[in-house]
Subunit: 68 residues, 2 copies
Amino acid sequence: MGIKQTFGQKVNALRKGKGLSQEDLSEKSGINRPYISAIEQGKRNVSLEVMEKLAEALEIHIKVLFEE
Amino acid sequence: MGIKQTFGQKVNALRKGKGLSQEDLSEKSGINRPYISAIEQGKRNVSLEVMEKLAEALEIHIKVLFEE
DNA sequence: TTGTAGACTGCCGTCGACA
DNA sequence: ATGTCGACGGCAGTCTACA
């Protein structure tokens, strides 16, 4: 499992835990929905700024995205 | 302070804590030295894969890069 | 609701060189 | 030992559209 896959699974789990759809997360984060879909599938090499937007939208600290 | 600056300062602090030069970190991580310089100055929007290489070279878990 | 495709712009990340 | 520059290929991130 690469880091992109691990990261994607974490985003997916946190999003579902909040009861949000990809569309919801897209609107809250300002990131387009197809890109969020690809991120959750571990296909994208996400950057710091996107990670920050995701964390804000999920109402968590960025470091949570890297906890087991 | 943006996230890029915060991240860069963390890398700088961890590197110095290990007694490494940018050149040392460059060799251990496989990332070119000018880029590491720019990262520490908060000028670059670092990606997941680069973060992973930095964490391995610094012998820490990635999440440490986001702790206060 | 999610995955995927194509086309596009801008920037990540590399490298060699010089202060 | 570090910062900076210029040039470059490749991909991050956007958008529209369709299953």
